[in-house]
Symmetry: C2
Subunit: 730 residues, 2 copies
């Protein structure tokens, strides 16, 4: 890019706003921007475009040419839906498949061979109704099932055509856009659609000679977002990572050719659970994901190539419509993207962005967005809002992750004009931009020092869902794993993500000291039925017995199988009674007052209790009790160690406790002796190549802290709220 980068300038993407040309250029100077972008719904004026900044424009290929989409309604995207259940009163049941769904979003696809793709189920008996026992009637809009058993309930899985692209739908309805055109998502599996998309993109590149960076938002398939027509339950199902919207007759038929077997509607409906990223995936679903990923990469690469041909860079947005892109997949490098952009509220999202290989630029879109309201409709850039405090908190979340992993760019989104009434916000962003550029410069000197322990997060997904539980922290703060990875995102500990399949097949990866597994029964985070495989348990038991560590949270490795519920119960020294062991005696215990793990804090507000947790032997140390049951325990298993936490919520306290638990489980109690702040409200990172020690205050109050260095020296620091301090140890 054209402009010279200094510590006061560069690495910053500013949202320009037509009509506010002076403000745009003023803020660009104040914040050290090198790039000006448009936003969803904004356009840049010629004055801004020609002001000497790099220009960055957003496009969304699947909803970009609505006129074409309208002329090709047979080429819209599709997905499977399950009808509402209908109880049989006699031996025939009539079902309206679409009843209860949002009819502006969905229409029934009556055209593509219902008998090939649809299925009818008796959901009382849990059995499929033979295809010969049901018929569909497009005119009536119904399916009739014969040979029913009275008082059983029946559902139809059917293909639905999507009439309204979900981001367009959401913005339209939220902002009350009235008559404004509904955008539609076209299905790129059709050759005609592909031709149209490539043609449109080529023309767009020609029409935007000043654009240096094209941001794809994102590729072809949105996250799943199924709406109902129930006022009191608008959302039927929403998941940032599931592949429901990649389904259509072409894909289903090609899958069968490619993989040698057929995906059924029920493979997607999955007893109404769909294939939520949160749940342990089936082998068939993983095959489908692979099949879709291959297509998205192949066709996506053609789009990226066009952008490159016009001398522009291609970035991809890692939020909307990224399904099939899989930045942590093996094929991602084949796209040829130059950059990846992630909008971030939290530290783990910064690590999610930073951890993607094979792109040169990792860019964060910071919150708050320049909108009148923020999360849950709370005021931001309007009366009653405090965007500066919001920004400090979000930056506080994100900064501790940026200390650990390099990020190349940051930026904002939204309406710049809204900042005019908040000059302190404008000032604070200037400070954030400077902090960011400084940290970036430190990373350029090399990796920061990590404690000599390596942790691996063990899930069904492994690397493919690194640094993520599908979605933002505030959407599912009840997930233990999202809290754990938020804590990990800023800890001075090497972290990798490993799948149950990998461990079963190849053992625990070399170099890993501690495994973490956290979640509820049958989720992808806990692991589900994979834990019935003794080979997996052999590997884990061997790893711990020989000195490894295992930290289990909530219902880790859970499955109602054999003599245990937690399948690694002996490693942890605890198991969970779901109500069928009330006649069994439980070990009495006393809470250990003093332990390495809780030496700094027991994080009592952040470690939850769980009913039914019980000890397996009298050597297990109970470090915290809640609700009358052990909530935090430490156990020896062979030469290794197990730590159990009944529940984990992120806080500065629990992040510290987690760090110590990892060191203890690894059997490396002295690992945290150096380059760790003695005050848990502060954290530090040491960059050995440039000998810079960065200390941050994560708290909203001033803090004092001390950091021991390997030479035995102690660096002391006093930091105002949210402050950063750089100490040179040269």
């Amino acid at each position: 890019m054209g402009m010279e980068h200094t510590l006061k300038q560069g690495g910053f993407t500013l949202p320009g706003e037509a009509g506010y040309e002076e403000l745009t250029l003023q803020m660009a100077r104040k914040w050290g921007a090198d790039v000006i972008r448009d936003s969803d719904g904004t356009q840049l004026s010629d004055e801004i475009i020609h002001a000497g900044y790099d220009i960055y424009s957003t496009i969304c290929l699947i909803r970009s040419d609505n006129a074409w989409a309208k002329q090709n309604m047979d080429k819209l995207q599709q997905n499977f839906l399950m009808s509402e259940p209908v109880y049989a009163k006699g031996d025939t049941v009539t079902i309206e498949p679409l009843k209860g769904y949002f009819t502006q979003q969905f229409a029934v696809n009556w055209k593509d061979e219902p008998k090939e793709f649809w299925q009818v189920f008796d959901r009382t008996a849990g059995t499929e109704v033979p295809a010969g026992n049901w018929d569909y009637d497009e005119q009536a809009g119904t399916v009739t099932v014969r040979g029913c058993i009275p008082y059983h309930k029946y559902t139809v899985n059917f293909l639905a055509i999507r009439l309204w692209e979900e981001i367009s739908m959401y913005n339209h309805i939220t902002n009350d856009w009235g008559d404004k055109e509904h955008l539609m998502a076209v299905e790129p599996r059709h050759p005609e659609t592909q031709a149209q998309i490539l043609k449109w993109l080529e023309q767009w590149c020609k029409d935007h000679p000043m654009t240096n960076v094209v941001r794809f938002t994102s590729m072809f398939y949105n996250f799943t977002w199924i709406w109902t027509d129930h006022e009191k339950r608008r959302d039927d199902f929403t998941d940032w990572g599931s592949y429901d919207f990649t389904v259509n007759p072409i894909a289903l038929r090609e899958f069968e050719k490619a993989k040698g077997y057929k995906m059924t509607s029920e493979d997607f409906i999955n007893r109404d659970l769909h294939n939520a990223t949160h749940n342990a995936p089936s082998r068939k679903y993983r095959d489908w994901m692979d099949f879709v990923n291959q297509f998205v990469v192949e066709f996506g690469k053609k789009c990226v190539d066009i952008v490159h041909r016009y001398g522009k860079k291609a970035y991809v947005f890692y939020d909307d419509s990224w399904v099939g892109v899989e930045p942590y997949g093996e094929r991602f490098k084949e796209f040829g993207f130059d950059g990846l952009i992630k909008c971030v509220f939290n530290g783990f999202e910064a690590r999610l962005c930073a951890g993607v290989k094979d792109v040169q630029v990792h860019e964060l879109r910071l919150h708050p967005y320049l909108f009148p309201t923020g999360l849950g409709g709370a005021p931001t850039f309007m009366e009653g809002g405090n965007p500066t405090l919001d920004a400090k908190r979000y930056w506080g979340n994100v900064r501790r992750a940026i200390l650990r992993a390099p990020i190349d760019r940051i930026g904002l989104g939204g309406y710049l004009s809204l900042t005019q009434k908040f000059p302190d916000f404008q000032d604070y962003i200037a400070q954030v931009a400077d902090e960011f550029r400084l940290l970036k410069s430190f990373h350029q000197g090399g990796k920061p020092y990590c404690l000599p322990v390596k942790a691996a997060v063990l899930t069904s997904w492994g690397k493919l869902r690194s640094w993520s539980c599908s979605g933002h922290y505030h959407e599912h703060p009840e997930l233990d794993l999202i809290n754990l990875i938020e804590a990990l995102s800023g800890l001075p500990i090497d972290v990798e993500f490993v799948s149950l399949d990998e461990v079963r097949e190849k053992g625990v990866p070399a170099g890993v000291d501690v495994l973490l597994n956290a979640g509820r029964l049958n989720t992808a985070w806990s692991g589900g039925e994979a834990w019935k495989d003794a080979k997996l348990l052999e590997e884990i038991n061997r790893f711990v017995a020989n000195g490894g560590g295992f930290i289990g949270v909530n219902e880790p490795a859970a499955q109602d199988f054999s003599t245990q519920f937690i399948q690694v119960a002996d490693v942890l020294g605890v198991d969970i009674d779901l109500g069928t062991r009330i006649c069994h005696g439980r070990y009495q215990y006393e809470v250990e007052k003093s332990h390495y793990i809780t030496a700094d804090t027991v994080a009592a507000d952040s470690i939850l209790g769980k009913d039914g947790v019980y000890l397996l032997n009298d050597q297990v140390q109970v470090l915290l009790e809640k609700e009358g049951a052990p909530a935090l325990t430490a156990n020896q298993f062979g030469r290794g160690r197990g730590v159990y936490m009944a529940g984990f919520r992120y806080s500065l306290e629990s992040a510290r406790l987690l760090m110590r638990a990892i060191c203890w489980a690894a059997g490396k109690e002295d690992a945290a002796d150096t380059f760790v702040c003695d005050n848990l409200y502060t954290e530090c990172a040491y960059y050995p190549d440039t000998k810079n020690l960065v200390i941050i205050n994560n708290a909203e109050e001033p803090q004092d802290c001390a950091v021991k260095t390997p030479s035995g020296d102690v660096v002391k620091a006093q930091l105002p709220a949210f402050e950063i301090k750089i100490v040179s140890l040269a």
Copy 2:
């Protein structure tokens, strides 16, 4: 019996105490006793025996002749145990079967063909190790398993001989009896044991000519009580109703002959769950119970016949060692018992006793027992104790049940001399005895009026476990069903108990208005895997759709099967997310301020919340919210109704709420218009034949109340704490 019964005398069994002859006779007069009994560890003196009262003596056949037991150690009772798991390090594992168990209670039975009866399991893989891969060594006291997989864990199921009868063991250890002889339980399956028992009993009858009533305590098999040698976990497994101690080689071989298939050790060990009464029983286990019951009745009848031959009556105690007796079983009448005695803390236990058919006398042993300490070691008849208040509370629990169902006798147990320092207790018992005799006289005139609704408690056990969840209330107050039946025990509602099998096979019994199902997943109270049977659901859905009611509590009808967790979710209008539906939207709702069910009280302290409960449609009425989820809901299903409670704890408030919920679910909102107190701390019963209205104050404070009669009259009453008032409507 000899003495004349008046309202001031009769129906009362007093524990006599040698050395306190004067006190014994004084209290016998004061309390209107007609019978004097001995107690465990007490003997009656000749003076008492010849005082003109009926005499009642306790015997326990299986531990009555310890000298014989010592000479016949090969005929002691046995049971299966599972060894502690041992992890394989190489391909061989050596296991000490008995390690960790209480060796004063158990010895390994090495003699009876271990290869026939024992099993070895790989509990990591959940598979049995072939018998050819293990050997036992009596000398070494070990089992060696070959062909092991390292890092798998192995256990041995083995036959253990019981060296110490558990009641003897418990009393011995609790009371520090030192050298006192350990009593042993002999196994009556051996013909020699049977001969010895019959001989002993015959001799005993001859030796006790003054005894009018022989109380069997109880028959042959104690409830399961497995102890460990771990100081911090004395109890391994304790259940009042499970059949572990009925196992031995003779029985196992005879079972195979009788039923045509073999019970394995694992059928009893059951993944270390044993066959707790609380858990849904397998078909095989039910067969075993039937097989044992047949034997206990057959041999028990021979014992009863001897007692009858000597002109005495035979009563059976419905607490210790009643396994195999099954007072609610089809064969119970064949014993020929004259009476049944139940010790009671609570109302449901009074109903448990009252509900047994085919005995003439139903007798309650009231608490507190005349011991220095009571529940959990709290002081009773000693300094710091308040036995009168204890007695009022227990009588308060029990009396409301006695209003509903006739009891023939009451009595006390323990050391009468302990009452000397508590004259107010002596006075209060006189009052209780009078109240009891009055209520008994009312029942003699006919059944009390019930509201025109009939409820059926639906469990795996049905009638066989009527009015019981295996054990006392205070042992498992966390069980929803024990709380529900305690509430039901005093409500003016007809109650029956029905099994899932019966409903599946024959439908909901005629006359039943409302089904209740309450408990956690896989328990016998919720029902377990039976809910995967669509035939059962057909019957229940039909019943409700045609106007029936269904009240589900906690995890009713639960099974992770098909599209629902609560298999009757549509009936209730709610289901439960265990963590795999976090991406699904939930219906928003407002709590109904006014509803028939909550018209008297919402019982907010007694209805618990449960995480994950969600509504299935927007017509469900939420009557109480807890922990952010619906805790009490009301739903229409066809012409019937479903009520869901996330958890139920007994209180006077929740008993009232339950009564109204039953009326509402039955669609009979006017059922509670008459003969129901307007003040929920009071209850009443109307005896139509004698036109007596009995009003009781269940509270520890004075209460006013009013009762509407069918004629429209209103009876008003003021009652001091715990008082009873009789109003004649003649």
